[in-house]
Symmetry: C2
Subunit: 479 residues, 2 copies
């Protein structure tokens, strides 16, 4: 039990120091390790398995909506990156540049992709000729690099893993529809798979992506009331198409520019998983994404029949779940703490007395509720329990979001809420960037999150300048 105690002591309390609690979990649950290059992390087996599960689920959703995977080179020549003015201004400052290849100085610098719009456009120019070639619905899974000064595992790293969808369409309407469709795919993934509720909506002019006409965002709230930009979907109009001279012969036999989208989510979602669901004993993972769904812990495993029965349960449960049976020589208490730390949704304990009674002990990670379950019902019980755990986790996260969503109808109310109540603030806005900047400055970091699809009319005037309001905006601090 010494080990057990030591491990539990080592985690900072979430209420005491949220940032330290976060990095403690990242380290103790063995999700990542730091590398010798600042801001570049090593994804350890358990952390990477979470990403693999996310990837498999999202990839299925992308393929079901007609998308195909491709792979673009990791290097972008400087001249290619410069083809779209806003885009290069947005990304050039944080690029990593390859200047030497095979012992020779390159005649042109190559940027390690921070995002791949330019590469896709160059390719699309070659393969799009007529309306018959449209739509192109491509996605790629890769790593990208953005040179960050301040880094934090999963949330802000110089290299990260993500997917980037890049699509081309005949009409603006079709491209806009795609932009929103993929935002809703993300929202469904967060809700159905990660058990995370989120506000979705449109970014303001100031906050949109470099080169986009419109950016949509999904904004889950972390346990401490801070928002995370959890994924974005961009509508580009025909701006890139014009810069790259991509045209197609339309149904009217005339030349047209196609309309474009891009959309992406990243390993940052692992950060969201931690900060939305986890607690002082470690990770709490939603069943659908957890690398281990059921941990079987034999009690008094040296006694006759215990390990046999445990293996029997493993065989049975493995038909429906990802199961780990820990028969190592650690004490059961150490194992309990270990799989709690790793956020395994369900623990099954089986000892000599349980076997006598034809039952086992089932403990859920999220609420610690314990049940004695007849062995013959175990598989069905756990199937139902997994659904229940998912729903409870979602509901708790939703309640936290609702509890920490405030309304501000005046400037003073806004400042007061921003100072004293971490969370979202719903408030009216005139539409001017100046007001966004002022609110950010005076609050020390509260920014517009998004304009939701269904706005409430909270007041007639902008909370900042008092001029007529155009939109209701969700505001908040962000990671």
């Amino acid at each position: 039990m010494a080990n057990n105690k030591k491990m539990v002591e080592a985690i900072t309390s979430r209420d005491e120091d949220f940032a330290k609690w976060y990095t403690d979990i990242v380290k103790k649950a063995e999700l990542v390790d730091y590398s010798g290059v600042k801001g570049c992390t090593i994804y350890r087996p358990y952390g990477f398995a979470i990403w693999e599960n996310m990837k498999a689920d999202l990839d299925r959703r992308f393929k079901e909506t007609g998308h195909e995977n491709v792979y673009m080179p990791m290097f972008i020549p400087e001249s290619l990156l410069q083809k779209e003015k806003d885009h290069v201004e947005g990304f050039a400052p944080e690029c990593a540049w390859v200047t030497v290849g095979g012992q020779e100085k390159l005649t042109e610098r190559l940027c390690v992709r921070p995002t791949s719009e330019t590469l896709f456009c160059e390719h699309y120019k070659k393969i799009i000729n007529t309306y018959r070639d449209l739509p192109k619905l491509y996605n790629q899974w890769c790593s990208v690099v953005r040179w960050e000064k301040t880094t934090r595992p999963f949330l802000r790293t110089s290299e990260f893993l993500w997917q980037e969808g890049h699509t081309m369409h005949e009409t603006a309407e079709e491209a806009k529809e795609e932009t929103l469709k993929m935002l809703h795919v993300y929202e469904a993934f967060y809700r159905e798979t990660l058990a995370i509720p989120a506000v979705i909506g449109r970014k303001t002019e100031k906050e949109k992506f470099a080169g986009a006409e419109e950016t949509y965002t999904i904004e889950p709230m972390m346990h401490n009331g801070v928002a995370l930009q959890g994924g974005t979907s961009h509508y580009f109009g025909d701006g890139f198409a014009k810069s790259f001279d991509i045209t197609y012969t339309g149904r009217d036999n005339k030349q047209h520019y196609p309309h474009q989208t891009s959309w992406g989510v990243s390993t940052r979602m692992i950060g969201a998983l931690i900060m939305v669901h986890s607690d002082d004993d470690g990770l709490v993972l939603p069943p659908k994404i957890s690398p281990i769904q059921v941990a079987i812990i034999p009690v008094a495993q040296h006694k006759e029949g215990v390990l046999d029965k445990a293996y029997e349960l493993k065989t049975e449960l493995s038909k429906n779940f990802r199961v780990k049976l820990d028969d190592s020589d650690h004490a059961p208490g150490w194992k309990f703490a270990e799989y709690e730390m790793k956020g395994v949704p369900v623990r099954v304990e089986i000892g000599p007395k349980d076997i006598e009674k034809g039952q086992c002990v089932v403990v859920r990670r999220d609420t610690r509720e314990k049940a004695f379950v007849p062995l013959e019902n175990l598989s069905q019980f756990i199937t139902d329990l997994m659904q229940d755990i998912h729903n409870s986790m979602y509901e708790r996260a939703l309640k936290n979001t609702q509890d920490k969503t405030f309304v501000a109808r005046s400037y003073d109310e806004f400042i007061d809420t921003a100072k004293n109540h971490p969370g979202f603030i719903k408030a009216m806005w005139c539409g001017e960037t100046e007001c966004e900047e002022k609110l950010k400055d005076v609050t020390g970091g509260v920014k517009s999150r998004c304009i939701p699809f269904e706005e409430e009319k909270l007041a007639d005037t902008c909370v900042c300048c008092g001029k007529p309001a155009k939109h209701m905006v969700f505001w908040g601090r962000q990671y």
Copy 2:
């Protein structure tokens, strides 16, 4: 039919110009496109789907043998790369270097990983403490960069996709066993999934990997008799462990160096698929790897009932196969040529007369054999056919390899065979690098492929110098 003719004409004959035939297929089957950066290719949906299928199959084999996936950073600081002397000498000349990040010149250059031994070692140093931490059986899927002067799609590119396994073990025996185990995993994958036979064995001192004690290789022969190094598995002993000061407390409570392996295969395998199996009408893909396994082509699709029946077949066959029904307005002949070009193993044709007779036409891609199959037997027929196609493809490739494997017992015989008979040459060797170099020079490129596990005694003396022979070696030209 005009389209059809045009497409078929556009492929160079394999016997006429093998290299041009190869690049024609790569382009016409829409596997890759070239990017603006020399030697970096774009994997188009069909080419990338082949890689995804390879990856899924191999990943299952790796996990079944106890390996876990991780992800290491793409950058290696120059000082880290230099820690193992042989290794840096092998790779530094072909590295791409990042020298500027976020608009500032870096204090230390970062190499874009050409392979990740050094990164794994740096991590292993932190996480390996006692024998209880061993073995570590890690793998990663990623892209790597080696600055190549002459490039060819899949075979030699500046950036390519691969997997690299990196494992650490208590003993030399265990590490050697792992090295061979993974070589055999590759051999099984080539045989069972790619339908490609191969010679396997150990590389000579001259040909082994930079920093390895022993390198094992899998060497399939292409249709034209040229070999491809299709995958390698390395035993490092404790060389890297010593350079990186990785030690563990053993069962004897003393400090020991762990023993290491690494092993990898890459997108080069797509090149092998093309060059082993394909023909003058395009790709011929083995059923297990083909993105589309069955192409359903409706004939006279405007006639009543044809498309309905075609969709019915699609629903039925999709239960067991990856199916594409092409109901576009191209002529059936164009579609036949299109799916032949893409190497789809089985084509199903269904027209009004077939429907009347309750049958369809089934054509296999590899032999063009045609069968009329009662609709009620279709699924079972195709299941059997797929196995048959796989076996036939393997047998044909095996026969080609056997037909093009020669024996040389004297120097003159070696030179004559090298000049006149493309393929493998089995010949005795004294063990000296000098003889390997001489044979390579005089033949204009014939190199040792490997020393097989079961050597034949063809003669007593080295085919080159006449001194006593130590080994029988497979020799051949390579891609």
